[in-house]
Symmetry: C2
Subunit: 242 residues, 2 copies
Amino acid sequence: MGILHRDIRSSSDVPLVCRACEARHGGVCAALSPEQLSELSRRSTRHRLDAGTEVVGQGESMERYSNIVRGVVKLTKVMADGRQQIVGLQFAPDFLGRLFLSESAVAAEAATDTEICSFSRGTLDQLVTRTPELGEKLHRQALKELDEARDWMLTLGRKSAQEKVASFLHLIAVNIDPENDSTASFDLPLSRADIADFLGLTIETVSRQFTRLRKENVIRLVNNRQVTVPDMALLTRLAGND
Amino acid sequence: MGILHRDIRSSSDVPLVCRACEARHGGVCAALSPEQLSELSRRSTRHRLDAGTEVVGQGESMERYSNIVRGVVKLTKVMADGRQQIVGLQFAPDFLGRLFLSESAVAAEAATDTEICSFSRGTLDQLVTRTPELGEKLHRQALKELDEARDWMLTLGRKSAQEKVASFLHLIAVNIDPENDSTASFDLPLSRADIADFLGLTIETVSRQFTRLRKENVIRLVNNRQVTVPDMALLTRLAGND
DNA sequence: GGAAGCGTTTGATTTTGATCAAATCACCGG
DNA sequence: CCGGTGATTTGATCAAAATCAAACGCTTCC
């Protein structure tokens, strides 16, 4: 399905240079020299993706890579009969794409309204051959995603529903509101249905666990999406991470 | 705990050169020039690991990397209360180790009697800086492991017990007996307890599903470990992979 | 205002897999 | 051969989460 975006370039005076990427986060830009950065900037475009926009489908070829500038992207796998599993969440400033293999093993979809900075495979491939540090950076990102995937396998295989929901909230808190580590406050980037697909549960079970955590004062819900965690240590304990 | 091995070198005349690796599989050796290969061979040692031997513990530093020459290594994560999840299986000729990060996020243990060909971090790091193809090879391996981990997340999160056991048998068949694709015959590298830890089930449930698959003629069990699959297509279907 | 639609919550019931318990099997050493 | 030990299977019961069903709350749009 490709990228169903609207190109900000044409609708505003935001310069093509990937300045926002450079300033706000350490995506691929961080490994590049000033000249390379300006080259990448010239060849990259900024896009806004509305929540729900598919970036790439499962098994599709991925002709463009992206840095996530703002927002959350979910990676999903679907079975033939429709059962679905979210296998990863990518937060800014994560890189979206993989070297060597153009075929994407997962579908990527904007979970929230998202901004990305994207460029073609060829552009990045060229930069990588000239800049070993960039290859190393992408290698490190792959290893980080591998660690995250394996952490989540433990959650999926061995934790109770309550521990799963606590683990999810913990993950979001750490990634969205990392400043404060004793307390946290954030907007959930996923609907209850998505959370269920991430945790291998049903919507109803997720909802019941939210209610339970609320009644036990582990979390406070301003509305369905806005969460406050008064005691992160307690949440960590309930998540089974000691 | 380090490697509890017995060094074959001292007990036999097997040469130090990693000739077996080169001949039998495409581990890291495949990316090296003849000179580099002979250098790596000089610096590497071959070891036999009895089933159950721990190669590296969760969170430990990994000072040596290895190619798996023969056998199966399981990667596990453990929770504080003892709950355990196998997060990956490595078959020959997989590489065991990771660049950049010496700290292992998982414990690695020989599931079967295993032979590895191992060398120090420093040796490989040097080779990688001189040989970009080698870095690429390791990057590809990381991406392959990531794909496998995410595939398994779907299994853990969304499949029934029967589908899980069928998925496990399918995985083993593909990796141990890859020649024949309509039929398969192999020895299970894992005990029922390990299979349970891989699938996020209990021993009893795994056993019941084996019995069920046997009664439905999906598999035949010569003994607890030896399995024959008369119809791989059927197994694939039961695993939920269409 | 009110009807429609969607996401979420709550309730009643069922199902799957876990737990508890015991029997069986396979292998090993005396 | 026999008793012992650990792995596996089988059986009975229980509990957690799924399923089925309905209500609720919120937004949108006549």
